[in-house]
C-alpha cells in the first residue's frame, strides 16, 4: 500500500472540522442560560431525545418540509444529504464485511476501492452494485444543484442567495467530491476489472488509455483534496448548517426559546440557516423592490456581525418566512431580539405615566391607538356593548395609553414593560373578568406579555360570538360575499384563523382563496417596519388588493384596524371591520343603545 499518503488532506480536513465542531458545541451549550441547560439535560433523559433523533433524520436527511414545498428541490436536498449518509453507512458495512472485522479504520470505507481491489468477500457484487447506485443517487442531486444555480425557476424558486468566498470554496468542493469519487473508483475498476454498472462501465472506457495505473493515485488524491477542502471550508460556510441544525433540533425540542435577549441559542439558529433562500420567495418586500433585508440576509448579517439598522428595521414582521423556513428558525423573535439588543440604551423611562382610578366594571374595553384612528370600529363596539347592556369600562376612551406592542416591535422592550405595568394595574383595579380588544396588535401583547391573572383577554369577535351564542345579539344573514383578510398579528402571530371566519359566516358568504390563513398577505401597513417608504407600502397593499379583486367579493373584511386603514386607502374595494359588519347586520336590539337613531328613542318615549 504505497502512496497511502494521499489520504492526508482528507484526514487533516476531518481533524480540523471535528476540532471546530467540538469547540463550538461546547461554547454553544455552555452559553445557554442555566434554566435552558437544565431543560436540555431534562429532555435528554426523557423520551424527547428519540423525537429529536427522528426529526433530525426526517428534516436533516430526508428534508421532508422542502419536499412538501417543492418535490424537485426536496429531491435535490435529499439525494445529497440522505444519499451521502447512505454511502457512508453502506461503505462502512461493506468495509466491515470485507475485512471481517467490526473495527475498520474510519477512512477505509471512504477510499475503499483503492485499498480493496479484489472481490473475495461475501456479497461483494451486491455491495459494489449498491455503492454505484447510491453514488448515482448523490450525483443526480449534484447535477440538480448545478442546474439550480443556473436555472432556479425549475425549482419553483424566484431567487436564490448570494455566496461569499468560503461558501464558494465549499460549494465547489461539494460539487467536485462525487464526480471525482466516480472518476477515482472508475480508474480503480479499470485497473482491477471490478466495480458495478456505473464504475465498471466508465472503467472500460478509461482502460483504453495506455497508462491508466499512473492516474490512479492522482485521482484518489484529488478526491481526498476536495474532501479536505470541503471540511475546512465547512465551519465558515453555510454548510455549517448541517451540524448546527442537529443541535438546534435537540435544543428546540427541549423547550428552549428566545427570551428577548441573545444567548448562544441565537448563534445556533443563525448557524442552522442553510441559506436555501426559500424565505425570499414569499417575502412581500420583494414586491416593493426591497431585496436585501429578508431573514436569510438577517441571519447572515448576524453571523458576519455586520447588521445595521437599515436592514434590521426594514421588515414587516409578518411572519411568512417563519412559516416557510424548512429548518424552523424563529425568524421573527430573532429579529425582534436583535432590535431589543440594538436599542437598549434608548428606552424611554415613561416617568410621566400616571395612574388614574379605575371604575368597577364587568368588562374592560381597550381600543388601542389603531382603533382610535378608525372610529367606525369604536362606534360599532359601543353599539354592541350598549345593545348587550354590558357593564363595561372604555379604558382608553379619553386618555389613550399604548398597549406596548408597537414598542415591542421596535425593540423597545423596557419602555414597553413600563406601559404594560401601568396599564395592567389600572385594568386589574376595575375588578373586571374580561378584557375585550378590537386590535390584534394589542391582543398579541395582552396575551403574551401582560400578567392579568384570572382575567380573560378576548378579541372583539370572540366576545361578539359569545353574545350571539347566548342570543343576546342577533344577526341577520345577507347574501354578501365577504373576503376575510387575515391580519398578520392574529393569524400567523396568534394562530387565529377559524374564529373570525365562524362569526363572519353568520352574516354572509365567505369567499375562500388560496392566499389565506397561513399564506395570507400582509396589508403593508405593518407597525413592525420602521424603514419602509409609503410608496413601498402601497405596492405591498396593492399586491393583496389585486388578488382579492380577482375573487370579486362584495366586501373585504378584516379584524385589524391597521389593515382596515391600509386597505381603505385603496379605494377599489370597500373594507370593513368584522364589528362593523356585525352592527350592520344586527337585528332589532332588545335594549336601544346610545348610538341608536333619535327617531327610535323618541318613539319609545312617545309610547
Amino acid at each position: 500500500m504505497n502512496g497511502k499518503y494521499f489520504i492526508i488532506p482528507f484526514l487533516a480536513g476531518m481533524a480540523y472540522l471535528f476540532l471546530i465542531l467540538i469547540v463550538r458545541g461546547i461554547r454553544w451549550i455552555s452559553g445557554l442560560s442555566k434554566i435552558d441547560k437544565l431543560r436540555l439535560f431534562q429532555s435528554l433523559k426523557s423520551g424527547r431525545t428519540l423525537k429529536s433523533l427522528k426529526e433530525a433524520f426526517v428534516e436533516g436527511l430526508l428534508h421532508r418540509k422542502i419536499f412538501l414545498k417543492n418535490p424537485v428541490l426536496g429531491y435535490m436536498h435529499m439525494s445529497l444529504a440522505f444519499g451521502w449518509f447512505l454511502l457512508i453507512v453502506m461503505g462502512h458495512v461493506e468495509a466491515m464485511v470485507a475485512e471481517g472485522s467490526l473495527s475498520v479504520p474510519f477512512y477505509m470505507p471512504i477510499f475503499f476501492r483503492y485499498f480493496k481491489t479484489t472481490e473475495d468477500f461475501p456479497l461483494a457484487r451486491f455491495f459494489s452494485f449498491m455503492m454505484d447506485l447510491l453514488l448515482l443517487f448523490v450525483l443526480s442531486g449534484v447535477g440538480l444543484a448545478m442546474l439550480k444555480r443556473f436555472k432556479k425557476s425549475l425549482f419553483g424558486m424566484k431567487r436564490t442567495t448570494r455566496l461569499k468566498l468560503f461558501d464558494r470554496i465549499a460549494l465547489t468542493s461539494l460539487w467536485l467530491i462525487f464526480p471525482l469519487r466516480l472518476l477515482a473508483e472508475s480508474i480503480a475498476a479499470a485497473i482491477s476489472h471490478n466495480g458495478s454498472f456505473l464504475t465498471s462501465g466508465i472503467g472500460k472506457i478509461l482502460s483504453s488509455s495506455q497508462h491508466i495505473e499512473l492516474l490512479n493515485t492522482p485521482a484518489w488524491l484529488a478526491y481526498s483534496l476536495v474532501l479536505g477542502f470541503f471540511f475546512i471550508a465547512l465551519p465558515n460556510s453555510r454548510y455549517m448548517h448541517i451540524p448546527a441544525e442537529i443541535l438546534f433540533i435537540f435544543l428546540r425540542n427541549s423547550g428552549i426559546r428566545l427570551k428577548k435577549q441573545n444567548t448562544t441559542y441565537t448563534d445556533v439558529q443563525v448557524f442552522s440557516c442553510s441559506r436555501c433562500g426559500i424565505c425570499l420567495d414569499n417575502c412581500q418586500l420583494s414586491t416593493a423592490g426591497i431585496r436585501d433585508t429578508q431573514s436569510v440576509y438577517l441571519l447572515k448579517n448576524i453571523r458576519n456581525k455586520d447588521l445595521d439598522d437599515e436592514h434590521l428595521f426594514n421588515c414587516l414582521l409578518c411572519g411568512k418566512c417563519q412559516i416557510d423556513c424548512p429548518v424552523g428558525i424563529e425568524t421573527i423573535d430573532l429579529r425582534i431580539t436583535q432590535r431589543i439588543e440594538s436599542t437598549r440604551q434608548y428606552n424611554s423611562s415613561y416617568e410621566y405615566l400616571e395612574i388614574n382610578s379605575s371604575p368597577s366594571a364587568k368588562v374592560v374595553y381597550f381600543a388601542g391607538c389603531m382603533t382610535h384612528l378608525t372610529p367606525g370600529i369604536i362606534t360599532a363596539m359601543q353599539k354592541i356593548f350598549e345593545t348587550a347592556g354590558e357593564n363595561y369600562w372604555f379604558f382608553d376612551q379619553e386618555k389613550a395609553p399604548c398597549c406596548g406592542r408597537p414598542l415591542m416591535l421596535a425593540g423597545q422592550y423596557e419602555a414597553a414593560s413600563k406601559l404594560i405595568e401601568n396599564n395592567s394595574r389600572q385594568i386589574l383595579a376595575s375588578g373586571a373578568q374580561t378584557l375585550v380588544v378590537s386590535c390584534p396588535i394589542c391582543y398579541k401583547v395582552f396575551k403574551e406579555d401582560y400578567h392579568l391573572f384570572n382575567m380573560e383577554v378576548l378579541m372583539h369577535f370572540e366576545y361578539i360570538r359569545r353574545l350571539i351564542d347566548r342570543e343576546i345579539l342577533q344577526v341577520a344573514r345577507s347574501p354578501q360575499r365577504l373576503l376575510y383578510h387575515d391580519p398578520c398579528e392574529l393569524g400567523r402571530g396568534m394562530g387565529m384563523y377559524k374564529e373570525p371566519r365562524e362569526v363572519l359566516a353568520m352574516t354572509g358568504t365567505l369567499v375562500s382563496i388560496r392566499n389565506e390563513k397561513e399564506k395570507a398577505y400582509c396589508c403593508g401597513g405593518s407597525l413592525g417596519n420602521l424603514k419602509i417608504k409609503q410608496e413601498e407600502r402601497d405596492m405591498i397593499r396593492n399586491q393583496a388588493v389585486n388578488d382579492y379583486l380577482e375573487h370579486s367579493p362584495d366586501m373585504l373584511v378584516t379584524s385589524c384596524p391597521m389593515c382596515k386603514k391600509t386597505f381603505a386607502r385603496n379605494t377599489r374595494i370597500p373594507v370593513l371591520d368584522i364589528s362593523e359588519i356585525i352592527t350592520r347586520n344586527m337585528l332589532s336590539p332588545g335594549i336601544p343603545g346610545l348610538t341608536e337613531s333619535k327617531e327610535c328613542i323618541l318613539e319609545e318615549e312617545y309610547i
Binding site: 382610535h372 384612528l373 378608525t374 372610529p375 367606525g376 369604536i378 362606534t379 376612551q397 379619553e398 389613550a400 409609503q534 410608496e535 402601497d538 386603514k565 381603505a568 386607502r569 379605494t571 346610545l594
Partner: protein, 345 residues
C-alpha cells in the same frame, strides 16, 4: 379670416370651460360646451364667498353665463363624455351611445373633485355628526343657514383642519392643493362674523399664503377676528356622548401633545384630479402627470397643451388653482387654440 368656422369641443362647464368657450366664440369659432351636471358653473355654484375679497361667486358665474349666450356657442348639459378618439382630421367625442360629435380641436376643462374626507377615517367624517368639510360649510353659508351643531346649538369652539387629503402620502396625495390655506382663513373670518362668541382654531402644517393679499388676510384673521393658529396636524378625533368632539394633535411649536374639546370640526378638503380624467387617458392619447392631473406638453412653454396635438386644457384639470388663476388660464388656453388654427391655415 376662415372660410369655414372651425368647431371646438369644450369638455366641462365650470368657470374654465365657460371662459374658454366665450373667448373662442368671440374669436369666431364654433363651440360646443359639454357639461355633465344639469347646469354650468361647476363648483362655484356651491361656494358662498371668494377669497380674498369675500365677493359673491354668483357674480363671476353670472358674468360667464351671459357670455355663453353667444350665437357661436352650443351648450349641452347633463352629458358626460365617455370616449374620445381621433378620426383622421377630426376628434370624435362620445357620451355612451347617446351622443356623438366631431370637433377640430378639444379643450379639456374637466376640473377637480374634492377629496373624500371619509377616507381619513380618524377624523370621523360621515361618522360623527359635527364633522363637516369646507365644502359643507360653504354650502351652509351660501344657503344662509345659521351655523349650528347637529343638535341645533351654537358652537362655542370650532377647529378648522388644514391639509385634509393634501400633502399626505398616506392619503395618496403628496401635492399641495394650494387654495385651502387661504380658504381656511377666509372661512375662519366668516365664522367669526357669524359667531362672534365662538373660539376658532386653525390646525396647520405651514401656511402657504402665496397671494399678494393673503398674508394681510392672515393678520386680519388673528388681530380682528381672534382666530388662533396652532401648528400641528390633527392625529384623530373622537365623538363624546354629547356629540362634541375631542381632538388630538401635537402643537409642534411648543413640542407638546395637545387634547382639545370642540363643538365642530371643519376639514379643509383638497383638490383631486377629476374622475372623468380616466375617460380621456384610457386610450393613452392624453397622459397624466405623477399626481393624476393632466400632463402638460411643456410645463413652462406649453401649459395648456396636453400630450396629444389638438387637445388643449385649462383650469384645475392641470393642477389646483384659484378662481382668478383658472380664469387667466382659460384665456391663455383660448389663445393657444387660436394660434394652433392660425398656424394650420
Amino acid at each position: 379670416m376662415m372660410n369655414k368656422p372651425r368647431h371646438i369641443a369644450v369638455i366641462g362647464g365650470g368657470i374654465a370651460g365657460m371662459e374658454t368657450a366665450s373667448r373662442l366664440a368671440q374669436a369666431g369659432y364654433k363651440i360646443t360646451l359639454i357639461e355633465k351636471e344639469r347646469i354650468t358653473g361647476g363648483h362655484l355654484t356651491q361656494w358662498s364667498h371668494l377669497f380674498p375679497d369675500s365677493s359673491d361667486p354668483a357674480i363671476v358665474v353670472s358674468r360667464l353665463s351671459s357670455a355663453l349666450s353667444h350665437q357661436n356657442i352650443k351648450v349641452i348639459t347633463s352629458t358626460e363624455i365617455t370616449d374620445i378618439s381621433k378620426n383622421g382630421q377630426y376628434f370624435n367625442l362620445k357620451s355612451g351611445s347617446e351622443m356623438s360629435l366631431n370637433a377640430d380641436a378639444i379643450v379639456v376643462t374637466s376640473g377637480f373633485h374634492l377629496f373624500d374626507a371619509s377616507r381619513k377615517e380618524e377624523y370621523g367624517y360621515g361618522l360623527f355628526d359635527n364633522v363637516l368639510t369646507s365644502a359643507d360649510l360653504e354650502l351652509m353659508m351660501k344657503n344662509e343657514k345659521p351655523i349650528r351643531t347637529a343638535s341645533g346649538k351654537k358652537p362655542r369652539r370650532i377647529a378648522i383642519i388644514h391639509c385634509v387629503g393634501s400633502r399626505d402620502a398616506k392619503a395618496g396625495n403628496t401635492y399641495c392643493s394650494k387654495v385651502c390655506c387661504i380658504t381656511g382663513i377666509k372661512q375662519a373670518i366668516e365664522l367669526n362674523k357669524r359667531l362672534p362668541e365662538c373660539e376658532i382654531f386653525c390646525f396647520y402644517m405651514d401656511l402657504r399664503l402665496y397671494g399678494s393679499s393673503f398674508d394681510g388676510l392672515y393678520l386680519t384673521a388673528q388681530q380682528k377676528h381672534k382666530v388662533q393658529f396652532i401648528r400641528g396636524r390633527l392625529s384623530e378625533a373622537a365623538e363624546k356622548p354629547d356629540k362634541s368632539l375631542q381632538i388630538k394633535a401635537e402643537d409642534t411649536l411648543s413640542g407638546r401633545p395637545l387634547r382639545m374639546d370642540v363643538d365642530m370640526i371643519i376639514l379643509l378638503v383638497g383638490m383631486e384630479p377629476g374622475i372623468s380624467h380616466n375617460n380621456f387617458s384610457r386610450n393613452g392619447s392624453v397622459q397624466l402627470d405623477e399626481n393624476g392631473f393632466l400632463k402638460c406638453k411643456d410645463v413652462h412653454a406649453a401649459r395648456n397643451l396636453t400630450t396629444q396635438t389638438g387637445i388643449f386644457m385649462a383650469g384645475t384639470c392641470i393642477c389646483p388653482m384659484s378662481v382668478s388663476e383658472t380664469l387667466e388660464n382659460a384665456r391663455s388656453a383660448a389663445l393657444e387654440v387660436i394660434n394652433y388654427f392660425e398656424r394650420k391655415m
